[in-house]
Amino acid sequence: MIAVLVMAGTLCHLAGSGAMIQSRPPETTALDIPGPVPTERPQGPRCIRQRILASVLLLAGCEGPQSALVPAGVDAQALHLLFTTMLGGAIVLWLLMNGFIYWFSHRHPAAFSEIAARWLIVLGGVVTPAIMVGALLVWGLTLLPDQRIAGNGLRIRVHGEQWWWRVAYQPPGTSGPIISANEIRLPAGRRTEFILTSDRVIHSFWIPALGGKMDMFPGRETRMSLQPETPGRYRGQCAEFCGASHAWMAFEAVVMPPEEFDAWLKAEAKDARPPQQDSARKGQQIFRREGCGACHTLRGTEAVAQVGPDLTHIGNRHSIGAGRLGATLDDIALWVRHTGDLKPEVHMPAFPHLEPAELRDLASYLKGLK
């Protein structure tokens, strides 16, 4: 039982590792993850207590914004039910098997009649497993098409880049797509379709709290749909190794009440807001002077390039650098100054020559792009 718990705990920990997101590089803060590594194995009751404590701590990993075990949508719930049923079934089977072993070896060690033994082997060894595995297979296969059922109109095209996400919203009845990046907003209670593709290598699109994952292939489109239910912020992560910064290729998935989502999408379609304060105006000059527009688009300005993420409304996003950092002014300044340190092999060059005051101005300009 403890073994099952520990295994489940480990699984939870893996699934919920999003709790550690957005840590800064070691040289910039002292945000160390506590991880004592004992050199000697403790013995006796202290050891058991520690193991129980460890299991409880690991189980805490089941929470968090990136956990398939805390489903927040129809699709994740279906997968969650499949998983818990299998887990429950495995526990029952494990108890039964060990119960039988105990019963026949200690309580009733008498010999079986040959007929009874044959029946036990055929029923317990062939028929029951075939029925159970068959039933699970049928159940699992019937869930597969649900991943791609048609949505309620909104389509989102996501393009995997190294290592970020190009996002284009295509609401029904509009002409051009609404371009964004590195954050995906979804209306609660509606089903949204995703069209997924990639640029150079295979990525995989996964928001564990909302549903299953789907690979993204260069030169090919894959489809899936999601129906989130609970408004909130969740974390998506690339789930297919795609290069040096694969682990830093994440995004925020924000589920909003439908009316709020519609209002947000309307705002997202608008051009970039001109800077309001002095600092932001200086920041805009720096943005132009440093040639940021060579790679980034700010709709409504002269910056129209397509190499990097669209920054038209970056001020509204909850993270920058594709889930690498939060979105405070300090985070933006840190990103611009230490890009390559934060995200190895990223194409965006760092701007170490900018003074702290200039970085602040630039950050306040970007933060103001709501």
């Binding site: 132009r288 002269e302 129209v304 397509q306 760092a350 020559h353």
Partner: protein, 342 residues
């Protein structure tokens, strides 16, 4: 058996003692006056010839060697970098040159036995233990072709006269006349300078001086100029429009690529104009620049030979040859100074 081993050991010891005496005690006479022992010259020269023939492969990047502008560029470089040893074509080498060991051949004689690819290899790599230096920087085979083009005219006895600097009365730096033997006199391959800011030109010259920007021709040229003259030269060349600088006029494709970029190629104009302020630290203006020069420089950036700007290295990373041609043509077709004045 034991005796054989002892003899071998004694011989080995004798060899070590001889080597230590020659190297450590200076017993070998290095005087160049006496020349080589009989047969050594022949062995060295034959080794040199065969080594070059083995290594100089058929080039895939050989430009049109009859291009007069390329020939003129090669002549300009030859005048200061090569002529001190190989003399001007048809002129007698100086007494000092003739006292060298081995004696550098007069240029007409030097080119006779080699084809262009072999000449290119020799100029690019130099020849060990002969006094012939390699090109001052690696990866600039494109520049070496200019000298080869000039040498081909020498072979045909049709070489243009080597340029001689004229005193430029308008420039406060005396060396301006030397710079102008190429800038303003040669209309292709040589960048136009009057479209740049003085700060950019100063930085470029200093980068050449420090060897941070690879160009055998410009590193040679700038090493002949006193470093304190650099800011004055930069000011002068940033302001004086020189003859030979002309735009190609007609609009061409490439505008879309330069102003919007693609998903792999950034928009050039965001840093280099026109229509946007030039990026800082100073980025060069490109409107009206020479097309051949732009093509060469973009290739050098893309191939990682030219470095020194993380932004430009990242920007040029994904350029195709076709992109490079489009962009160079478009910038060369623009009116100089258009829209950079912000």
């Amino acid at each position: 058996m034991k005796r054989v081993l002892l003899i071998l050991l004694a011989l080995a010891l004798l060899g070590v003692v001889t080597a230590v005496s020659v190297v450590g005690l200076g017993l070998y006479n290095v005087s160049a006056r006496s020349g080589h022992l009989p047969g050594v010259s022949w062995a060295l020269h034959t080794t040199f010839r065969n080594s070059v023939r083995l290594r100089a492969s058929a080039p895939d990047d050989m430009p049109d060697l009859s291009d007069p502008e390329l020939i003129a560029l090669g002549a300009g470089h030859y005048a200061t970098a090569c002529a001190p040893c190989h003399a001007e074509p048809g002129k007698r080498p100086t007494a000092t040159m003739r006292a060298m060991q081995p004696q550098p051949p007069a240029i007409r004689e030097a080119v006779t036995d080699w084809n262009p690819a072999e000449l290119h290899w020799i100029i690019d790599n130099g020849v060990k233990m002969s006094g012939m230096p390699g090109w001052p920087t690696g990866g600039r085979g494109d520049e070496v072709w200019a000298v080869v083009a000039y040498l081909e005219t020498v072979r045909r006895n049709a070489s243009p006269p080597l340029p001689t600097p004229k005193r430029d009365r308008n420039a406060d730096a005396a060396e301006a006349g030397y710079c102008r033997t190429c800038h303003g006199s040669i209309s292709r391959h040589v960048p136009r300078l009057d479209i740049q800011q003085p700060e950019y030109l100063t930085k470029a010259l200093q980068d050449y001086l420090k060897g941070e920007r690879p160009s055998g021709i410009m590193q040679q040229a700038v090493s002949r100029v006193p470093p304190e003259a650099i800011p004055g030269l930069a000011r002068y060349f940033a302001t004086v429009p020189l003859s030979g600088a002309k735009t190609t006029g007609a609009p061409v494709a490439g505008k879309e690529l330069a102003s919007r970029g693609t998903r792999k190629v950034p928009a050039c104009i965001a840093c280099h104009g026109p229509g946007a302020p030039l990026a800082q630290p100073p980025a060069p203006a490109l409107a009206g620049q020479d097309r051949a020069f732009l093509e060469t420089q973009l290739r050098l950036w893309r191939d990682g030979i030219r470095q020194g700007s993380a932004r430009m290295s990242a920007a040029a990373r994904a350029l195709t040859d076709h992109d490079i041609r489009l962009l160079s043509e478009w910038y060369a077709s623009l009116e100089a100074g258009s829209g950079n004045a912000e």
